[in-house]
Structure formats: C-alpha cells, structure tokens
C-alpha cells in the first residue's frame, strides 16, 4: 500500500499513452458520418485500390516467405562469421526512411537495372506495376517476418531436432516435421505482421508506383487534391479493413495452435 501514489502515477501515464493511440482513431470515426463511409465504399476507385493493396501485400508476403523462413531457420540454428552483421542488415529496412527505401528499390527494379531488364524479358514490369509495389512493400516489411520466424525457430528445443535425426529422419524431414510445425505460431504472426506492414506502406510504394494506386497513396492523393473531408472516409474504410484482417488472422493463428 506504500506505493499507492506511485502506482496511481504509473496508471495515469499509461492511460495517457493509450488515449494517445485510441484518441485519433476514435476521432476519425466520430468525425466521419456513416453516409460518407457508405458512399465512399461504393466508389470504384476506392474499391479497386483496397483490393489491389490487399492482394499485392498478400502476394509479396507469401512470395518472400519462401526465402525468409529458411533464412530465419539458419539464423536461429547456425553460428557463422559476420552473423551479427547479417542480423543488422536484416533490421536496416526498419530504421531507414521509407522514402529513401523507395528510392533504393526504384534503382534496383527500374528498367535500366539488371532485375528490370530481366523482368522485361519475361514481360514483367516493376515500375508503376503491382510487381514493383510488391517489391517495395516486401523491402520495408520483411524484417518483421524474419525476426518473428527466427524467434520461433530459436524456441524449438535443439534436442527435439537431434532426437528426430537420431530416429533416422533426414535434415529436410526434421525441418518440415519438427522445426516448422513447432515454430509455426511465430511464423504465422510474422506473416501477419509483414502483411499488415506491407499493406500500410506509403513512402516506399509511392516512389516506385504512384499508379496503380494502393490505398495509402489514394488517401494521400485525396487529401492533397480535395482536402481532409475527402480523405477521411477512405482512411476510415481502410482502417476498418485492416482491423478486420488483423483480427481474423490473429484468431486463425490461435485456432491452428489449439488444433
């Protein structure tokens, strides 16, 4: 009981921070009438951009997961020279400004680059195209997947993998039957984080592809051309869509674990 005033102080500060997060979100909903939201949701441009944002982010997440999950496994299990450097490199996209990341990605995928040339040989355009958006989204969101998956693999007792090898399983079978299922919960939450981070990306995406317009770019365009009242309903709809996906995927990953 001696600490009560101090505890009150802690609760007060915590409450302020929570309010700081919830306040603007509640504010945007209060300031937007259901009519506006309904009418905006029927706007084909809005619908198209939300659809595009979701599927491109989903595709980017899944495509890059193929390489990221093995990388995470290696990082969790193997020690090698310069491992700390590699870990630092993986976190780079989180710390650099996303517009700068966009510039970097643009140089990497532009029509003059090797990747751009390679892409155009098979008819795949990056700049101003979904493929470019996916690369930009993946660039800024991939650390979330790699780090979550690495934590997951690290938490799998090495002993279980050794036991499986001792029982005659090949390293590949050990990975698919032991390590991957046991790390699955972390991997799924990494996938969700990567997907959510990718679809909310603005800075890197707008530099690589203004068109076709993902929703964060559309919100910005409505704001700069028509003002706050036109941007707000789109923002509300996108927040709702994000929340729905976020909650649904969380629930999905939980039931997977319990099953």
């Amino acid at each position: 009981m001696r600490f009560q005033p101090f505890q009150l102080f802690l609760i007060l500060l915590s409450g302020l921070v929570l309010l700081f997060i919830i306040g603007p979100l509640v504010g945007i909903f209060v300031a937007t009438s259901p009519d506006q939201v309904f009418n905006t949701s029927r706007d084909p441009e809005v619908q198209r951009s939300i659809g595009l944002t979701l599927w491109v982010s989903m595709a980017a997440t899944l495509a890059f997961a193929i390489g990221s999950i093995p990388l995470a496994y290696l990082l969790a299990r193997k020690d090698f020279a310069l491992k700390r450097l590699v870990l630092g490199i993986i976190d780079l996209p989180i710390v650099i400004p996303h517009s700068a990341a966009g510039i970097a990605v643009l140089g990497f995928v532009s029509r003059d680059s090797y990747l751009g040339k390679l892409g155009s040989m098979v008819g795949l355009d990056f700049v101003g195209a979904p493929a470019g958006i996916a690369v930009a989204m993946a660039f800024v969101s991939i650390p979330f997947l790699i780090n979550a998956a690495r934590d997951g693999f690290s938490a799998v007792p090495l002993r279980l993998e050794l036991a499986a090898l001792n029982l005659g399983a090949s390293p590949a079978r050990v990975f698919f039957s032991i390590s991957l299922p046991l790390a699955w919960r972390n991997i799924v939450s990494g996938l969700i984080l990567m997907f959510a981070r990718g679809m909310s990306e603005f800075g890197a995406v707008i530099i690589v592809a203004y068109y076709p317009m993902v929703t964060p770019v559309l919100i910005w365009e409505r704001f700069s051309s028509f003002g706050l009242s036109h941007a707000r309903p789109v923002a509300v709809i996108f927040i709702l869509v994000s929340l729905i996906f976020f909650i649904a995927l969380r629930l999905l990953s939980r039931t997977k674990k319990d099953a």
Binding site: P157, R159, L160, L162, A163, A164, L165, N166, L167, G168, A169, S170, R173, S177, I178, P181, L182
Partner: protein
C-alpha cells in the same frame, strides 16, 4: 561389437580424456559416474550429436566417427525424453518408420506391438502434455526401439522416476536386454549398475577409472574413488522368495537372509552397505532381522574409518569408526556377532 578408441573432447569446463572401451553384442554396458563426469557426453559422441576432437568410434570393424547422425546404429533415449510435443503418442512412436516404405497397415501394427511391449497401448491417442514422466519415457523407448537400433543408449533412465516406477522399468530393461538388445546406459546410481549391468565402466572427471564385469568392479575396486563411489562390497546373487508375508533371500551358498523388500520373487540381489552392519561382542537382542556369528579375517583402513571383513560362512564387509574399533578391541581372529537389516 562397438569400440571407442582414445576419444578426446574438450569442453569449456571439462575434458573427456582418452576414453576407450568395448561393448560386445548383447551386453548391458553401464557407464557409472558422479554427475558431471562426462557420461552424457560419451553417449552424444556415440550418437554423433557431437564430434570428438580425437579418437574413433568403431562398429563391427567399421570406423563411423564422421558419419551422419541419421545413419548411425544408435538409438538414444534422452534424459528428458525429447518427445515431439505436437504429435500424439502414436505419431511419436511411428515417426521413425513412417515414410520408410512400410505400408500404413504395417506401420500401425508395428506401433501397436511396440506400445504393447512397453505397456502403453492404452495411451496411443493421447498427446504428450497429458502424460506423466514415466509414461513419456516408455513412449521414448518405444519410439527408439521401433527402429531396431543395434545399440540402445539410455541417459539416466531411472533417475527421474519415483521409486515405485523404478522397479517396473528395471524389469522392462532387463527383458529388453534378455531379448538380445545391446544396451549402453549411463547412471550415477551404483545400485542400478549392480542390478542391470553385465559390464561396468566407472568414469570420473572425464576419465575412465575402471572397466570390467560388474562383479570385478564392485568386489575389486581398482582405486579409492571406485571403492568410495561404488560403496557396496556386500552384494550377493540370491533367490528371493516369500513365506508367510516375510521375504527371504537364499544366497548361492544356501544361507538364508531375512529381507526387507518389495522386489518380486525370483532371481535378484541382496545389497548391504558396510555402514549398515553392526558388530557386537555378544549375541545382543536387537531390532535387526539378521544376526550371525563370525570371525574377523581382516581389518583395513577405509575412507571413513575401518573396514572389517568378517567370515560367517559368508563374507561380509562392515564399516566402522576408529572409536568403535578401539572400544570393541577388534583384531583379526576375534569372534564377533554381526547384525543387520537387509534389502534386496
């Protein structure tokens, strides 16, 4: 036949130094030593989980030192069992034989058979987190044995079981060994070694101290460490039986001792610690269940005082303090009475 030749492995805190031994097919080979002696590390080197710095592991004349874990003829049961938590008992046991070309019907019958032998047939559909330690251990044994490893490696299999379960597992291990399964088994418990092993290697601080038949090691400890560690010189093969709710053990020479034990009837051992034998000059009434007269053959200094060898027709080693030795004025040739309560 398995041979370890001059294995050396340096760890941050200690070193396995020049470990060599041989295990014949059908042996129950026990590596006995205090915790931290390097016993588990030897098993890890055998199974290939860890590579030695120097030395060779040779199986039937073939050097397998650098071989992959999954192609070695060792099945290891870890001390913590390493049961896969996301698989049912059935899936755990079938893990080594699934995908091995066996049809699923055949796999199921192999699993059923193995589970039956381990007495866990009723647990097949359970998940590991609902099982007790003893049950998990049997799952681990079944999962390892289903692959029919040439050598079964056991890491302290009895240590984490409570007393009531130990007896059951001991008989199970005996049964497995009797069927011809070679077992290499590490423990810090000399009783386990006495009862189960046909050959014993004593290890201390990363070095082999003595290797031999259980009999040799326990009756002729080659060093003070072994004597102190093995601790028991009075141990006798015996036929255990019950009469009117009392247990008896008949020794090889026909002498019958009253016992205090839950061991089943049949072949067994009588184990008696030197400290538990009391020496008196007359036949005193005591609560001990065995009393007999004998003659002192030998008195020798021991780590805890003196060791007195008394011949009563059967030879017993009693451990006594210097004080008792002087009070009773014991000397070789003197006739004394000994009394003890013994267990099997």
């Amino acid at each position: 036949m398995l041979e370890l030749k001059n294995i050396i492995k340096t760890y941050p805190e200690f070193k396995l130094d020049d470990i060599s031994f041989r295990v014949d097919d059908g042996d129950h080979f026990i590596i006995l030593g205090p915790s931290g002696a390097g016993k588990t590390q030897i098993l890890e080197i055998l199974a290939g989980l860890v590579d030695p710095d120097e030395g060779n592991v040779i199986v039937d004349g073939k050097d397998i030192t650098g071989c992959k874990i999954q192609s070695r003829p060792f099945g290891i049961v870890f001390q913590d069992y390493a049961i896969f938590p996301h698989m049912s008992v059935r899936e755990n046991i079938s893990y080594p034989v699934r995908f091995k070309g066996s049809g699923s019907k055949q796999v199921l019958s192999m699993v059923a058979e193995q589970a039956e032998a381990m007495e866990i047939g009723h647990l097949l559909d359970r998940m590991p987190k609902t099982l007790s330690g003893g049950e998990l251990q049997r799952v681990a044994l079944a999962r390892t044995l289903i692959r029919e490893p040439k050598y079964l490696l056991l890491d302290e299999p009895l240590a984490s079981l409570d007393v009531s379960l130990r007896q059951g597992l001991r008989s199970l291990l005996k049964e497995i060994n009797d069927k011809g399964q070679t077992i290499i088994h590490v423990t810090h418990d000399y009783e386990e070694a006495l009862v189960l092993a046909n050959r014993v290697a004593v290890i201390n601080q990363g070095r082999m101290v003595q290797i031999g038949s259980a009999d040799e090691v326990f009756h002729n400890p080659g060093s003070e460490f072994v004597a102190r560690f093995t601790g028991v010189k009075n141990y006798f093969a015996a036929r255990l039986y019950r009469e009117q709710d009392r247990q008896y053990g008949e020794l090889a020479n026909g002498r019958v001792l009253r016992l205090n034990t839950d061991e089943p009837e049949g072949k067994g051992f009588v184990i008696l610690r030197g400290e538990d034998i009391f020496i008196s000059l007359e036949n005193l009434p005591t609560s001990a269940t065995n009393q007999m007269k004998g003659q002192i053959l030998e008195i020798s200094p021991s780590p805890f005082g003196f060791e007195v060898l008394i011949d009563t027709g059967t030879r017993f080693y009693a451990r006594i303090t210097r004080e008792s030795l002087q009070n009773l004025a014991l000397r070789p040739g003197k006739e004394v009475w000994i009394s003890f309560t013994s267990k099997a």
